[in-house]
Amino acid sequence: MIAAARRDSQSAKLLVVDAEGGIRHLPRATLGALFSQGDLVIANDAATLPASLTGIHCGSGKPIEIRLAAWLSVRDPTRFAAIAFGAGDHRTPTEKRMLPPPLLPGDQLAFGPLMAVVEHPLNDPHLYRLRFLGDRATIMAGIARQGRPIQYAHVRESLSLRDVWTKIAADPIAFEPPSAGFALDWRTLENWRQRGIGFATLTHVAGISSTGHPKIDLRLPFDEPYRIPERTAVAIKRAKSKAKRIIAIGTTVVRALESASFADGSVRAGDGIASKHLGRETSLRVVDTLLTGLHQPGDSHFELLRAFADETVLLKLSAVCIRNGYRIHEFGDSMLIERRRTAVRRSFSLLCCGRAVTTEPHLEMN
């Protein structure tokens, strides 16, 4: 277990931004004492796959790292969209990583005993369709043993699965951790329960956050599949009917809930695909409050914050974070941001209602 994660759980801080843009500083350990009776907290219970595989390009004998970036069909581990790097590891920033040996359709890759075949590029020369050989159990065993969590240069220590699974991690389906959930522990959930605060989950495939290729990064986040349990939808309806707050743990929860939303703030249970980018023009229908990590202007998480707060508030946050020594990375501190209070709710929404989705690939690809 990495030292950073251990330290953070003891001393993490919480930046609270209220609906008027007012700011408070709290220890994150006080999370269990926040919110009111009847409010509903919703978290993403996706567990994270060890989606980085290091091995050999069989044709050239050269080292290669594959990062699984998206399911082609959810829960089918035979095929993924993947990006590739040459020699090196996560300590080199992704945009400076060596290119992989040229990859042609039919090329074989070996990750220990786990074998894969390059099928074809997906709209971009750096994004490939990859097929693993073997049955489901064999492939999952190979990924479990040969894979490591995707990680970036700002954390030098090698992460293990334990470092990237939240305490509530259930369904191993995400490519990167739904990291806002690192703020949750069982004690906090117990405190909420005792205070009459509801807790429910959904499962959202948190995707890869950076590929090192500007053209692909512009397409991030990819369309992300999610599943909202019936009980979660019922709990939301009930909380909404009593005018209680819906608190989302992480931007993935916001994306899923708003994708599945109806105009009255209820949500459609079942499977869907979060494909819309949320931002300034988004009128939030479901989520009142968001717990998230601290994000820099420019990244897609920051764009989503514009749905919650005005530009002036968000710009102020960066300075506040620096001045108060907040740690801005996925194992760092947290922010709780309330949706801005608006005189008149915008009557339109850019979000379509949640779509029922069966097993179509969720990436629009060749």
Binding site: A137, A169, F199
Partner: protein
């Protein structure tokens, strides 16, 4: 008579130590009755053989080895699509032939604690999110830790095993209290003296006819599991306080 409100065919169960003795009997019984089963054991050849025989998902891993825990948890939940019940059955006797504590090496006790106590602790922790998700969905969730009368009674020569099983039994009791509100039942079950490889390793000259058949013990454990799950699905663990 089994409780009827739990559909075994929808049940997703993981069993550690699934290639011999009680664990194997559990894998066979649960698979035969239609449950979705994943089992863990150390020997790849045996895992393959039992997987082929039963149709269960076989996972090669050692619960006594810390680095195996999360990969094993990943394989369990990915193959079963979640988890309703975990049966921590894998055990080691400690020194064999059985030895008095005064002759037991510290490393032998450490190993017994690692396999019989820390392994179940870590695997349960790694799978607690999946179990809680099952409970939230109204399907119930349970952890069964296989115990022994040596966890309660002081038998000469059973120091490493008895101490580790006693600790596991108490861990189970405390976890039962802590996880009750999350809808996860924790049970410590003593299957009794069975005709298993572990028993013959401990008492080589025991008369097998005086010992319980592991398949009978497995049937009792499955019954206890179904009772625990039917209690948990009574509806009191919804998301609304």
């Amino acid at each position: 008579m089994m409780p009827t409100n739990i559909d075994l065919k929808k049940l997703r169960v993981a069993v550690t130590g699934g290639t011999s003795g009680l664990g194997l009997a559990l894998v066979r019984l649960l698979s035969a009755r239609g449950a979705r089963v994943a089992f863990v054991a150390r020997t790849a050849g045996l895992v393959r053989q039992i997987a082929q025989e039963t149709g269960a998902f076989g996972i090669v891993g050692d619960v006594g080895y810390k680095d195996d825990i999360y990969p094993v948890a990943l394989e369990i939940t990915a193959n079963l699509g979640g988890l309703d019940a975990l049966i921590n059955n894998a055990s080691t006797l400690g020194p064999t032939p059985l030895a008095p504590l005064a002759d037991t090496q510290c490393e032998e006790l450490e190993h017994a604690l690692r396999v019989n106590l820390l392994g179940p602790f870590q695997l349960t922790k790694a799978l607690l999110g999946a179990l809680a998700a099952s409970a939230r969905a109204g399907q119930g969730a349970a952890v069964i830790n296989i115990s022994s009368d040596a966890a309660v009674n002081a038998y000469s020569g059973w120091g490493a095993y008895g101490a580790s099983k006693a600790a596991l039994r108490h861990l189970t009791a405390i976890w039962a209290e802590e996880a009750r509100a999350d809808g996860i039942a924790f049970l410590s079950l003593d299957p009794g003296d069975m005709d298993t490889p572990l028993h013959s390793l401990a008492i080589p000259d025991a008369d097998p006819s005086t010992l319980k058949r592991p398949q009978d013990a497995a049937a009792e454990i499955v019954e206890s599991l179904l009772t625990a799950l039917s209690y948990d699905t009574a509806g009191q663990f919804g998301v609304i306080p």
